[in-house]
Amino acid sequence: MNERPPLYGLLAEFGDPTELVAAVRRAREAGYTRLDAFTPFPVEGLAEELGCERSRLPLLVFAGAVLGAAVGYGLQYWTSVVAYPWNVGGRPFHSWPAFVPVTFELTVLFAALFAVLGMLALNGLPRPYHPVFRVPRFALATRDRFFLLVEAADPLFHPEETRRFLERLVPRTVSEVEP
Protein backbone atom coordinates (compact mmCIF):
# COMPACT_ATOMS: atom_id res chain seq x y z
CA MET A 1 0.00 0.00 0.00
CA ASN A 2 1.88 3.01 -1.26
CA GLU A 3 -0.74 5.69 -0.97
CA ARG A 4 -0.29 8.43 1.60
CA PRO A 5 -2.05 7.70 4.90
CA PRO A 6 -5.07 9.93 5.29
CA LEU A 7 -4.10 10.87 8.82
CA TYR A 8 -1.08 12.47 10.43
CA GLY A 9 -1.85 10.66 13.64
CA LEU A 10 -4.12 10.28 16.63
CA LEU A 11 -4.05 12.60 19.59
CA ALA A 12 -5.18 11.52 23.05
CA GLU A 13 -5.86 14.11 25.71
CA PHE A 14 -5.14 13.59 29.41
CA GLY A 15 -5.84 15.62 32.50
CA ASP A 16 -2.61 15.34 34.42
CA PRO A 17 1.02 14.41 33.92
CA THR A 18 0.73 11.10 35.79
CA GLU A 19 -1.92 9.80 33.36
CA LEU A 20 0.18 10.95 30.42
CA VAL A 21 3.35 9.25 31.63
CA ALA A 22 1.40 6.05 32.25
CA ALA A 23 -0.08 6.26 28.74
CA VAL A 24 3.32 6.81 27.17
CA ARG A 25 4.63 3.78 29.03
CA ARG A 26 1.74 1.62 27.82
CA ALA A 27 2.16 2.80 24.24
CA ARG A 28 5.86 2.01 24.30
CA GLU A 29 5.11 -1.42 25.74
CA ALA A 30 2.61 -1.99 22.95
CA GLY A 31 5.46 -1.39 20.51
CA TYR A 32 4.68 2.09 19.21
CA THR A 33 7.78 4.06 18.32
CA ARG A 34 6.67 7.24 16.53
CA LEU A 35 5.23 8.96 19.56
CA ASP A 36 5.23 12.51 20.79
CA ALA A 37 3.84 14.09 23.92
CA PHE A 38 2.80 17.68 24.47
CA THR A 39 2.64 19.25 27.92
CA PRO A 40 2.11 22.76 29.27
CA PHE A 41 5.34 22.57 31.27
CA PRO A 42 8.38 20.31 31.29
CA VAL A 43 7.42 16.99 32.88
CA GLU A 44 10.34 15.25 34.52
CA GLY A 45 11.35 12.02 32.83
CA LEU A 46 8.81 12.27 30.03
CA ALA A 47 11.39 12.59 27.26
CA GLU A 48 13.17 9.50 28.58
CA GLU A 49 9.91 7.55 28.58
CA LEU A 50 9.46 8.52 24.95
CA GLY A 51 12.93 7.25 24.17
CA CYS A 52 14.43 10.63 23.26
CA GLU A 53 18.19 10.63 23.29
CA ARG A 54 20.03 13.08 25.45
CA SER A 55 20.52 16.27 23.53
CA ARG A 56 23.85 17.27 22.05
CA LEU A 57 23.22 20.86 23.03
CA PRO A 58 25.86 21.05 25.79
CA LEU A 59 28.52 20.01 23.30
CA LEU A 60 27.37 22.70 20.90
CA VAL A 61 27.47 25.32 23.63
CA PHE A 62 30.98 24.25 24.57
CA ALA A 63 32.03 24.65 20.93
CA GLY A 64 30.49 28.12 20.99
CA ALA A 65 32.43 29.02 24.11
CA VAL A 66 35.72 27.85 22.62
CA LEU A 67 35.01 29.74 19.41
CA GLY A 68 34.11 32.87 21.37
CA ALA A 69 37.31 32.71 23.40
CA ALA A 70 39.39 32.21 20.25
CA VAL A 71 37.68 35.06 18.44
CA GLY A 72 37.96 37.36 21.46
CA TYR A 73 41.60 36.73 22.15
CA GLY A 74 42.55 36.51 18.48
CA LEU A 75 40.87 39.81 17.74
CA GLN A 76 42.73 41.58 20.50
CA TYR A 77 46.04 39.95 19.72
CA TRP A 78 45.79 40.72 16.04
CA THR A 79 44.68 44.34 16.44
CA SER A 80 47.09 45.18 19.27
CA VAL A 81 50.17 43.34 18.02
CA VAL A 82 49.82 43.05 14.25
CA ALA A 83 47.38 45.52 12.75
CA TYR A 84 47.75 48.55 14.97
CA PRO A 85 50.55 48.24 17.54
CA TRP A 86 50.48 51.26 19.81
CA ASN A 87 52.81 51.91 22.67
CA VAL A 88 50.78 52.77 25.77
CA GLY A 89 53.03 53.75 28.66
CA GLY A 90 55.65 51.20 27.62
CA ARG A 91 53.32 48.24 28.01
CA PRO A 92 54.09 45.23 25.85
CA PHE A 93 52.03 44.93 22.69
CA HIS A 94 50.92 41.50 23.80
CA SER A 95 49.68 42.61 27.25
CA TRP A 96 47.56 39.54 27.90
CA PRO A 97 46.11 40.40 31.34
CA ALA A 98 44.35 43.37 29.75
CA PHE A 99 42.83 41.07 27.17
CA VAL A 100 41.11 38.84 29.72
CA PRO A 101 37.86 40.80 30.22
CA VAL A 102 36.97 41.06 26.52
CA THR A 103 37.92 37.43 25.92
CA PHE A 104 35.66 36.40 28.77
CA GLU A 105 32.73 38.49 27.55
CA LEU A 106 32.94 37.11 24.02
CA THR A 107 33.18 33.55 25.37
CA VAL A 108 29.92 34.05 27.22
CA LEU A 109 28.30 35.83 24.29
CA PHE A 110 29.11 33.11 21.76
CA ALA A 111 28.16 30.31 24.14
CA ALA A 112 24.81 31.96 24.89
CA LEU A 113 24.05 32.54 21.21
CA PHE A 114 24.92 28.92 20.46
CA ALA A 115 22.71 27.76 23.33
CA VAL A 116 19.64 29.63 22.12
CA LEU A 117 20.05 29.27 18.38
CA GLY A 118 21.16 25.67 18.84
CA MET A 119 18.09 24.88 20.94
CA LEU A 120 15.82 26.41 18.31
CA ALA A 121 17.58 24.69 15.44
CA LEU A 122 17.57 21.24 17.07
CA ASN A 123 13.89 21.70 17.89
CA GLY A 124 13.13 22.69 14.33
CA LEU A 125 11.81 26.08 15.36
CA PRO A 126 10.59 28.49 14.13
CA ARG A 127 7.96 26.26 12.58
CA PRO A 128 4.84 28.24 11.74
CA TYR A 129 2.64 25.25 11.02
CA HIS A 130 2.35 21.79 12.48
CA PRO A 131 -0.54 19.35 11.90
CA VAL A 132 -1.44 19.21 15.60
CA PHE A 133 -2.40 22.87 15.52
CA ARG A 134 -5.43 21.87 13.44
CA VAL A 135 -6.98 20.06 16.39
CA PRO A 136 -9.06 22.69 18.21
CA ARG A 137 -8.53 21.13 21.63
CA PHE A 138 -4.78 21.27 21.16
CA ALA A 139 -4.88 24.92 22.26
CA LEU A 140 -5.21 23.51 25.79
CA ALA A 141 -1.75 21.99 25.55
CA THR A 142 -0.36 25.34 26.59
CA ARG A 143 -2.79 25.63 29.50
CA ASP A 144 -3.70 22.52 31.49
CA ARG A 145 -3.96 19.46 29.22
CA PHE A 146 -1.50 16.73 28.33
CA PHE A 147 -1.48 15.14 24.90
CA LEU A 148 -0.08 11.94 23.47
CA LEU A 149 0.35 11.75 19.72
CA VAL A 150 0.74 8.47 17.83
CA GLU A 151 1.95 9.31 14.37
CA ALA A 152 0.46 7.58 11.37
CA ALA A 153 3.99 6.96 10.20
CA ASP A 154 4.36 4.41 13.00
CA PRO A 155 4.67 0.87 11.58
CA LEU A 156 2.03 -0.39 14.03
CA PHE A 157 -0.39 2.41 13.25
CA HIS A 158 -3.88 1.41 12.21
CA PRO A 159 -6.67 4.01 12.26
CA GLU A 160 -9.16 1.87 14.15
CA GLU A 161 -6.92 -0.35 16.23
CA THR A 162 -4.75 2.47 17.44
CA ARG A 163 -7.84 4.44 18.35
CA ARG A 164 -9.15 1.47 20.32
CA PHE A 165 -5.77 1.12 21.99
CA LEU A 166 -5.75 4.79 22.96
CA GLU A 167 -9.30 4.63 24.25
CA ARG A 168 -8.30 1.84 26.59
CA LEU A 169 -5.95 4.34 28.26
CA VAL A 170 -9.04 6.34 29.36
CA PRO A 171 -8.17 9.69 27.85
CA ARG A 172 -10.59 12.60 27.90
CA THR A 173 -10.79 12.71 24.12
CA VAL A 174 -9.12 11.10 21.13
CA SER A 175 -8.84 13.34 18.08
CA GLU A 176 -7.74 12.65 14.54
CA VAL A 177 -4.92 14.83 13.32
CA GLU A 178 -5.18 15.70 9.67
CA PRO A 179 -1.95 16.18 7.79
Binding site: P42, E44, A47, T79, V102, A112, N123, H130, T142
Partner: protein, 454 residues
Amino acid sequence: MRREEGRPPVIEPGHTFATVTDKIAAVVLAQKTSRGWWLGFGLSFLLLLLFLYAVGFLFLRGTGIWGVNVPVAWGFAIVNFVWWIGIGHAGTLISAILLLLRQPWRTSINRFAEAMTLFAVACAGLYPILHLGRPWLFYWLFPYPNTMGLWPQFRSPLVWDVFAVSTYATVSFLFWYVGLLPDLATIRDRSRGPVRARIYGVLAMGWRGSAAHWQRYETAYLLLAGLSTPLVVSVHTVVSFDFAVGLVPGWHATIFPPYFVAGAIFSGFAMVLTLAIPLRAAYGLEDFVTMRHLDAMARVMLATGLVVAYGYGSEIFTAWYGGNIYEEAMVSNRFFGPYAPVYWALLACNVVAPQALWFARVRASVPALFVLALVVNVGMWLERFVIVVTSLHRDFLPSSWGMYVPTFWDWATFVGSIGLFLSLLFLFIRFLPMISMFEMRALLPEAEVRETAG
Protein backbone atom coordinates in the same frame (compact mmCIF):
# COMPACT_ATOMS: atom_id res chain seq x y z
CA MET B 1 11.75 21.52 41.77
CA ARG B 2 11.80 20.01 45.19
CA ARG B 3 8.93 20.74 47.48
CA GLU B 4 9.86 22.24 50.78
CA GLU B 5 8.61 21.12 54.14
CA GLY B 6 7.38 23.50 56.79
CA ARG B 7 7.82 26.74 54.86
CA PRO B 8 5.14 29.09 53.65
CA PRO B 9 4.04 28.15 50.13
CA VAL B 10 5.29 30.08 47.10
CA ILE B 11 1.79 29.94 45.63
CA GLU B 12 -1.27 30.32 47.81
CA PRO B 13 -3.19 27.00 47.93
CA GLY B 14 -6.25 26.35 45.78
CA HIS B 15 -4.75 27.02 42.39
CA THR B 16 -4.77 24.65 39.42
CA PHE B 17 -2.94 24.72 36.09
CA ALA B 18 -5.91 26.48 34.56
CA THR B 19 -6.38 29.16 37.23
CA VAL B 20 -2.68 30.02 37.32
CA THR B 21 -2.64 30.38 33.54
CA ASP B 22 -5.85 32.31 33.28
CA LYS B 23 -5.05 34.72 36.07
CA ILE B 24 -1.67 35.71 34.65
CA ALA B 25 -2.82 35.72 31.03
CA ALA B 26 -5.86 37.83 31.88
CA VAL B 27 -3.76 40.97 32.15
CA VAL B 28 -2.48 40.48 28.60
CA LEU B 29 -5.73 39.18 27.13
CA ALA B 30 -7.97 41.87 28.61
CA GLN B 31 -9.78 43.73 25.86
CA LYS B 32 -10.00 46.91 27.87
CA THR B 33 -6.91 48.58 29.25
CA SER B 34 -7.39 49.77 32.81
CA ARG B 35 -7.50 53.46 33.62
CA GLY B 36 -4.63 53.06 36.05
CA TRP B 37 -2.43 51.70 33.28
CA TRP B 38 -3.21 54.65 31.04
CA LEU B 39 -2.48 57.06 33.86
CA GLY B 40 0.86 55.41 34.67
CA PHE B 41 1.88 55.02 31.09
CA GLY B 42 0.85 58.60 30.29
CA LEU B 43 2.95 60.04 33.10
CA SER B 44 5.94 57.86 32.15
CA PHE B 45 5.54 58.87 28.54
CA LEU B 46 5.64 62.54 29.49
CA LEU B 47 8.95 61.92 31.23
CA LEU B 48 10.16 60.04 28.17
CA LEU B 49 9.34 63.10 26.07
CA LEU B 50 11.40 65.19 28.48
CA PHE B 51 14.25 62.73 27.90
CA LEU B 52 13.96 63.06 24.15
CA TYR B 53 13.90 66.84 24.48
CA ALA B 54 17.03 66.84 26.64
CA VAL B 55 18.82 64.44 24.32
CA GLY B 56 17.78 66.43 21.25
CA PHE B 57 19.19 69.57 22.80
CA LEU B 58 22.35 67.69 23.71
CA PHE B 59 22.82 66.61 20.11
CA LEU B 60 22.31 70.21 19.04
CA ARG B 61 24.62 71.91 21.52
CA GLY B 62 27.01 69.29 22.87
CA THR B 63 27.90 68.25 26.40
CA GLY B 64 28.45 71.90 27.38
CA ILE B 65 24.80 72.05 28.39
CA TRP B 66 25.64 69.73 31.29
CA GLY B 67 27.49 70.82 34.39
CA VAL B 68 30.55 68.77 33.49
CA ASN B 69 33.87 70.51 33.03
CA VAL B 70 37.49 70.04 34.05
CA PRO B 71 38.20 68.71 36.69
CA VAL B 72 34.79 66.98 36.98
CA ALA B 73 34.49 65.63 33.45
CA TRP B 74 32.37 62.65 34.54
CA GLY B 75 29.11 63.93 35.89
CA PHE B 76 25.54 62.68 35.91
CA ALA B 77 26.05 60.62 32.77
CA ILE B 78 28.44 58.22 34.50
CA VAL B 79 26.56 58.36 37.82
CA ASN B 80 23.37 57.35 36.02
CA PHE B 81 25.14 54.73 33.92
CA VAL B 82 26.47 52.92 36.98
CA TRP B 83 23.17 53.32 38.82
CA TRP B 84 21.05 51.91 36.02
CA ILE B 85 23.31 49.02 35.24
CA GLY B 86 23.41 48.13 38.93
CA ILE B 87 19.62 48.04 39.02
CA GLY B 88 19.67 45.57 36.18
CA HIS B 89 21.68 43.06 38.15
CA ALA B 90 18.94 41.79 40.43
CA GLY B 91 16.99 40.54 37.43
CA THR B 92 19.78 38.31 36.24
CA LEU B 93 20.58 37.27 39.76
CA ILE B 94 17.01 36.20 40.44
CA SER B 95 16.63 34.39 37.16
CA ALA B 96 20.04 32.75 36.89
CA ILE B 97 21.65 32.27 40.29
CA LEU B 98 18.43 31.44 42.12
CA LEU B 99 17.54 29.00 39.35
CA LEU B 100 20.83 27.21 39.79
CA LEU B 101 20.31 27.22 43.55
CA ARG B 102 16.83 25.71 43.04
CA GLN B 103 15.01 28.47 44.90
CA PRO B 104 11.35 28.03 43.98
CA TRP B 105 10.42 31.54 45.13
CA ARG B 106 12.21 33.05 42.17
CA THR B 107 9.52 31.87 39.77
CA SER B 108 6.89 34.49 40.48
CA ILE B 109 9.26 37.39 40.21
CA ASN B 110 11.84 36.38 37.64
CA ARG B 111 9.95 37.44 34.52
CA PHE B 112 9.42 41.05 35.40
CA ALA B 113 12.77 41.23 37.14
CA GLU B 114 14.35 40.17 33.83
CA ALA B 115 12.29 42.76 31.98
CA MET B 116 13.47 45.30 34.51
CA THR B 117 17.05 44.23 33.75
CA LEU B 118 16.60 44.72 30.04
CA PHE B 119 15.07 48.14 30.39
CA ALA B 120 17.59 49.26 33.00
CA VAL B 121 20.46 48.11 30.77
CA ALA B 122 18.88 50.01 27.87
CA CYS B 123 18.84 53.18 29.99
CA ALA B 124 22.37 52.49 31.20
CA GLY B 125 23.74 51.87 27.73
CA LEU B 126 22.48 55.23 26.50
CA TYR B 127 24.51 57.26 28.99
CA PRO B 128 28.07 56.44 27.94
CA ILE B 129 26.98 57.07 24.35
CA LEU B 130 25.36 60.43 25.16
CA HIS B 131 28.43 61.27 27.19
CA LEU B 132 30.70 60.94 24.15
CA GLY B 133 31.29 64.38 22.71
CA ARG B 134 30.03 63.16 19.35
CA PRO B 135 27.48 60.46 20.19
CA TRP B 136 26.72 59.66 16.55
CA LEU B 137 30.22 58.20 16.25
CA PHE B 138 29.66 55.68 19.06
CA TYR B 139 30.30 52.79 16.65
CA TRP B 140 33.97 53.73 16.66
CA LEU B 141 34.12 51.83 19.95
CA PHE B 142 33.44 48.56 18.19
CA PRO B 143 36.18 46.74 16.33
CA TYR B 144 35.20 47.02 12.70
CA PRO B 145 37.46 47.26 9.67
CA ASN B 146 37.57 50.91 8.68
CA THR B 147 39.37 53.00 6.11
CA MET B 148 41.41 54.68 8.83
CA GLY B 149 42.98 51.37 9.81
CA LEU B 150 42.19 52.18 13.47
CA TRP B 151 41.22 49.67 16.13
CA PRO B 152 39.86 50.16 19.66
CA GLN B 153 42.37 50.28 22.51
CA PHE B 154 41.80 46.91 24.19
CA ARG B 155 43.88 47.86 27.20
CA SER B 156 41.28 50.44 28.20
CA PRO B 157 38.54 49.55 30.70
CA LEU B 158 36.24 51.81 28.70
CA VAL B 159 36.47 49.40 25.77
CA TRP B 160 35.96 46.46 28.16
CA ASP B 161 32.77 48.24 29.16
CA VAL B 162 31.52 48.25 25.59
CA PHE B 163 31.94 44.50 25.38
CA ALA B 164 30.63 43.83 28.88
CA VAL B 165 27.50 45.94 28.52
CA SER B 166 26.65 44.82 24.99
CA THR B 167 27.16 41.16 25.92
CA TYR B 168 25.10 41.66 29.05
CA ALA B 169 22.28 43.27 27.10
CA THR B 170 22.30 40.50 24.49
CA VAL B 171 22.44 37.62 26.95
CA SER B 172 19.77 39.19 29.17
CA PHE B 173 17.55 39.52 26.12
CA LEU B 174 18.14 35.90 25.09
CA PHE B 175 17.45 34.67 28.60
CA TRP B 176 14.26 36.68 28.80
CA TYR B 177 13.04 35.65 25.37
CA VAL B 178 13.75 31.97 25.88
CA GLY B 179 11.85 32.18 29.15
CA LEU B 180 8.94 33.84 27.36
CA LEU B 181 8.70 31.37 24.49
CA PRO B 182 6.26 28.83 26.03
CA ASP B 183 4.19 31.65 27.53
CA LEU B 184 3.92 33.37 24.18
CA ALA B 185 2.49 30.11 22.87
CA THR B 186 -0.06 30.18 25.70
CA ILE B 187 -1.10 33.71 24.81
CA ARG B 188 -1.28 32.68 21.15
CA ASP B 189 -3.64 29.83 21.99
CA ARG B 190 -5.79 31.93 24.29
CA SER B 191 -6.07 35.08 22.18
CA ARG B 192 -9.33 35.86 20.54
CA GLY B 193 -9.01 37.71 17.28
CA PRO B 194 -6.79 36.63 14.42
CA VAL B 195 -4.43 39.62 14.44
CA ARG B 196 -3.39 39.16 18.02
CA ALA B 197 -3.13 35.39 17.67
CA ARG B 198 -0.95 35.88 14.62
CA ILE B 199 1.40 38.36 16.28
CA TYR B 200 1.90 36.14 19.33
CA GLY B 201 2.08 33.14 17.01
CA VAL B 202 5.02 34.63 15.15
CA LEU B 203 6.72 35.48 18.44
CA ALA B 204 6.11 31.97 19.81
CA MET B 205 7.84 30.46 16.75
CA GLY B 206 5.47 27.52 16.64
CA TRP B 207 6.13 26.34 20.19
CA ARG B 208 3.86 23.40 21.00
CA GLY B 209 5.28 21.93 24.17
CA SER B 210 6.64 18.72 22.68
CA ALA B 211 8.49 16.56 25.19
CA ALA B 212 11.66 16.48 23.11
CA HIS B 213 11.52 20.25 22.78
CA TRP B 214 11.10 20.68 26.51
CA GLN B 215 14.15 18.53 27.10
CA ARG B 216 16.39 20.72 24.92
CA TYR B 217 14.66 23.81 26.19
CA GLU B 218 15.47 23.00 29.80
CA THR B 219 19.06 22.21 28.89
CA ALA B 220 19.41 25.50 27.04
CA TYR B 221 17.78 27.44 29.86
CA LEU B 222 20.02 25.89 32.48
CA LEU B 223 23.12 26.52 30.38
CA LEU B 224 22.06 30.14 29.89
CA ALA B 225 21.65 30.48 33.64
CA GLY B 226 25.09 29.03 34.16
CA LEU B 227 26.54 31.46 31.64
CA SER B 228 24.71 34.47 33.04
CA THR B 229 25.90 33.87 36.56
CA PRO B 230 29.57 34.70 35.97
CA LEU B 231 28.49 37.29 33.41
CA VAL B 232 26.49 39.31 35.90
CA VAL B 233 29.42 39.35 38.29
CA SER B 234 31.83 40.28 35.50
CA VAL B 235 29.77 43.19 34.23
CA HIS B 236 29.79 45.20 37.40
CA THR B 237 33.37 44.17 38.01
CA VAL B 238 34.29 45.70 34.67
CA VAL B 239 32.27 48.80 35.52
CA SER B 240 34.26 49.08 38.74
CA PHE B 241 37.47 48.77 36.69
CA ASP B 242 36.49 51.99 34.90
CA PHE B 243 37.27 53.59 38.21
CA ALA B 244 39.70 51.24 39.92
CA VAL B 245 42.21 51.19 37.07
CA GLY B 246 42.46 54.99 37.27
CA LEU B 247 44.96 56.42 39.76
CA VAL B 248 42.53 58.94 41.26
CA PRO B 249 42.24 58.87 45.08
CA GLY B 250 38.86 57.40 45.98
CA TRP B 251 38.78 55.25 42.85
CA HIS B 252 41.91 53.22 43.21
CA ALA B 253 40.74 50.53 45.64
CA THR B 254 41.00 46.76 45.27
CA ILE B 255 37.69 46.35 47.14
CA PHE B 256 35.87 47.92 44.18
CA PRO B 257 34.89 44.84 42.14
CA PRO B 258 33.14 42.86 44.92
CA TYR B 259 31.74 45.97 46.54
CA PHE B 260 30.32 47.19 43.22
CA VAL B 261 28.74 43.81 42.56
CA ALA B 262 27.16 43.78 46.01
CA GLY B 263 25.96 47.35 45.50
CA ALA B 264 24.42 46.36 42.18
CA ILE B 265 22.47 43.52 43.76
CA PHE B 266 21.50 45.77 46.66
CA SER B 267 20.02 48.43 44.37
CA GLY B 268 18.59 45.82 42.04
CA PHE B 269 16.60 44.10 44.76
CA ALA B 270 15.47 47.49 46.01
CA MET B 271 14.14 48.21 42.52
CA VAL B 272 12.43 44.81 42.25
CA LEU B 273 10.66 45.55 45.54
CA THR B 274 9.80 49.07 44.37
CA LEU B 275 8.13 47.60 41.28
CA ALA B 276 6.70 44.38 42.74
CA ILE B 277 4.83 45.98 45.62
CA PRO B 278 2.63 48.30 43.52
CA LEU B 279 2.23 45.69 40.76
CA ARG B 280 0.96 42.92 43.00
CA ALA B 281 -1.53 45.33 44.54
CA ALA B 282 -2.69 46.72 41.20
CA TYR B 283 -3.18 43.34 39.52
CA GLY B 284 -4.17 41.32 42.58
CA LEU B 285 -1.15 39.02 42.37
CA GLU B 286 -0.80 38.52 46.12
CA ASP B 287 -1.31 34.77 45.59
CA PHE B 288 1.85 34.53 43.52
CA VAL B 289 4.07 37.27 44.93
CA THR B 290 3.53 36.30 48.54
CA MET B 291 4.91 37.73 51.77
CA ARG B 292 7.53 34.99 51.57
CA HIS B 293 8.88 36.58 48.38
CA LEU B 294 9.00 40.03 49.89
CA ASP B 295 10.67 38.63 52.99
CA ALA B 296 13.30 36.80 50.94
CA MET B 297 14.08 39.89 48.89
CA ALA B 298 14.34 41.97 52.04
CA ARG B 299 16.86 39.50 53.43
CA VAL B 300 18.95 39.67 50.26
CA MET B 301 18.81 43.46 50.50
CA LEU B 302 19.98 43.38 54.09
CA ALA B 303 22.87 41.01 53.31
CA THR B 304 24.13 42.93 50.29
CA GLY B 305 23.64 46.19 52.19
CA LEU B 306 26.01 44.88 54.84
CA VAL B 307 28.60 44.02 52.15
CA VAL B 308 28.26 47.54 50.78
CA ALA B 309 28.72 48.96 54.28
CA TYR B 310 31.85 46.83 54.61
CA GLY B 311 33.05 48.37 51.34
CA TYR B 312 32.65 51.89 52.73
CA GLY B 313 34.46 50.86 55.88
CA SER B 314 37.25 49.26 53.90
CA GLU B 315 37.78 52.42 51.86
CA ILE B 316 38.10 54.50 55.01
CA PHE B 317 40.33 51.93 56.71
CA THR B 318 42.63 51.58 53.70
CA ALA B 319 43.00 55.34 53.41
CA TRP B 320 44.06 55.52 57.05
CA TYR B 321 46.12 52.30 57.19
CA GLY B 322 47.80 52.92 53.83
CA GLY B 323 49.12 56.26 55.03
CA ASN B 324 48.68 57.81 51.60
CA ILE B 325 48.03 61.53 52.19
CA TYR B 326 45.92 61.87 49.05
CA GLU B 327 43.65 59.04 50.12
CA GLU B 328 43.41 60.54 53.60
CA ALA B 329 42.54 63.92 52.12
CA MET B 330 39.88 62.26 49.98
CA VAL B 331 38.26 60.63 53.02
CA SER B 332 38.26 63.83 55.06
CA ASN B 333 36.88 65.65 52.03
CA ARG B 334 34.04 63.15 51.87
CA PHE B 335 33.38 63.63 55.59
CA PHE B 336 33.66 67.40 55.82
CA GLY B 337 34.11 68.77 52.29
CA PRO B 338 31.61 70.66 50.16
CA TYR B 339 29.77 67.46 49.20
CA ALA B 340 29.67 66.14 52.79
CA PRO B 341 25.84 66.30 53.02
CA VAL B 342 25.62 63.89 50.07
CA TYR B 343 28.03 61.49 51.77
CA TRP B 344 26.17 61.52 55.08
CA ALA B 345 22.86 61.10 53.27
CA LEU B 346 24.33 58.11 51.49
CA LEU B 347 25.40 56.53 54.77
CA ALA B 348 21.95 57.17 56.22
CA CYS B 349 20.20 55.58 53.23
CA ASN B 350 22.49 52.62 52.60
CA VAL B 351 23.93 51.74 55.98
CA VAL B 352 21.56 52.96 58.69
CA ALA B 353 18.13 52.54 57.09
CA PRO B 354 18.50 48.90 55.95
CA GLN B 355 19.30 47.82 59.52
CA ALA B 356 15.54 47.97 60.12
CA LEU B 357 15.33 44.82 57.98
CA TRP B 358 16.77 42.79 60.85
CA PHE B 359 13.31 42.90 62.40
CA ALA B 360 10.80 40.36 61.15
CA ARG B 361 8.01 42.85 61.80
CA VAL B 362 9.55 45.33 59.37
CA ARG B 363 10.01 42.62 56.75
CA ALA B 364 6.35 41.67 57.18
CA SER B 365 5.13 45.20 56.59
CA VAL B 366 4.55 46.02 52.94
CA PRO B 367 4.56 49.82 53.31
CA ALA B 368 7.79 49.70 55.34
CA LEU B 369 9.49 47.57 52.69
CA PHE B 370 8.34 49.91 49.96
CA VAL B 371 9.71 52.96 51.74
CA LEU B 372 13.00 51.20 52.54
CA ALA B 373 13.38 50.11 48.92
CA LEU B 374 12.91 53.67 47.74
CA VAL B 375 15.42 54.89 50.32
CA VAL B 376 17.97 52.33 49.10
CA ASN B 377 17.41 53.33 45.48
CA VAL B 378 18.14 56.94 46.38
CA GLY B 379 21.08 55.91 48.53
CA MET B 380 22.70 53.88 45.78
CA TRP B 381 22.34 56.77 43.36
CA LEU B 382 24.02 59.03 45.95
CA GLU B 383 26.81 56.47 46.32
CA ARG B 384 27.65 56.66 42.64
CA PHE B 385 27.49 60.45 42.83
CA VAL B 386 29.95 60.42 45.73
CA ILE B 387 32.32 58.06 43.93
CA VAL B 388 32.29 59.94 40.65
CA VAL B 389 32.12 63.56 41.75
CA THR B 390 33.88 63.84 45.11
CA SER B 391 36.87 61.89 43.83
CA LEU B 392 37.26 64.03 40.74
CA HIS B 393 36.61 67.45 42.13
CA ARG B 394 39.74 67.47 44.31
CA ASP B 395 42.67 65.43 43.14
CA PHE B 396 46.37 65.87 43.80
CA LEU B 397 46.83 69.60 43.14
CA PRO B 398 44.77 72.28 44.89
CA SER B 399 45.26 74.47 41.81
CA SER B 400 43.16 72.06 39.79
CA TRP B 401 40.26 71.77 42.23
CA GLY B 402 36.78 72.64 41.16
CA MET B 403 33.12 72.08 41.80
CA TYR B 404 30.41 70.32 39.86
CA VAL B 405 26.87 71.63 39.81
CA PRO B 406 24.30 69.68 37.78
CA THR B 407 22.28 71.82 35.39
CA PHE B 408 18.65 71.57 34.34
CA TRP B 409 19.75 69.35 31.44
CA ASP B 410 21.53 66.94 33.76
CA TRP B 411 18.35 66.52 35.77
CA ALA B 412 16.18 66.35 32.68
CA THR B 413 18.21 63.49 31.22
CA PHE B 414 18.21 61.65 34.53
CA VAL B 415 14.50 62.04 35.27
CA GLY B 416 13.75 61.46 31.61
CA SER B 417 15.53 58.13 31.60
CA ILE B 418 13.30 57.02 34.48
CA GLY B 419 10.45 57.85 32.11
CA LEU B 420 11.99 55.67 29.42
CA PHE B 421 12.37 52.81 31.91
CA LEU B 422 8.80 53.09 33.21
CA SER B 423 7.27 53.48 29.75
CA LEU B 424 8.93 50.27 28.60
CA LEU B 425 7.84 48.55 31.80
CA PHE B 426 4.20 49.61 31.36
CA LEU B 427 4.20 48.33 27.78
CA PHE B 428 5.69 45.08 29.02
CA ILE B 429 3.09 44.42 31.71
CA ARG B 430 0.28 45.13 29.25
CA PHE B 431 1.49 43.04 26.33
CA LEU B 432 3.51 40.19 27.82
CA PRO B 433 2.79 37.87 30.75
CA MET B 434 4.61 39.40 33.70
CA ILE B 435 4.86 36.11 35.60
CA SER B 436 6.20 32.96 34.04
CA MET B 437 3.11 30.82 33.57
CA PHE B 438 4.74 27.54 32.64
CA GLU B 439 7.07 27.64 35.60
CA MET B 440 4.18 28.48 37.91
CA ARG B 441 2.30 25.44 36.61
CA ALA B 442 5.32 23.28 37.30
CA LEU B 443 5.32 24.48 40.91
CA LEU B 444 1.83 23.17 41.63
CA PRO B 445 1.57 19.92 43.58
CA GLU B 446 -0.29 18.10 40.80
CA ALA B 447 2.59 18.78 38.41
CA GLU B 448 4.51 15.94 39.98
CA VAL B 449 4.27 12.55 38.33
CA ARG B 450 3.01 10.06 40.91
CA GLU B 451 4.26 6.54 40.67
CA THR B 452 1.30 4.29 39.97
CA ALA B 453 1.27 0.54 40.45
CA GLY B 454 1.40 -1.33 37.18
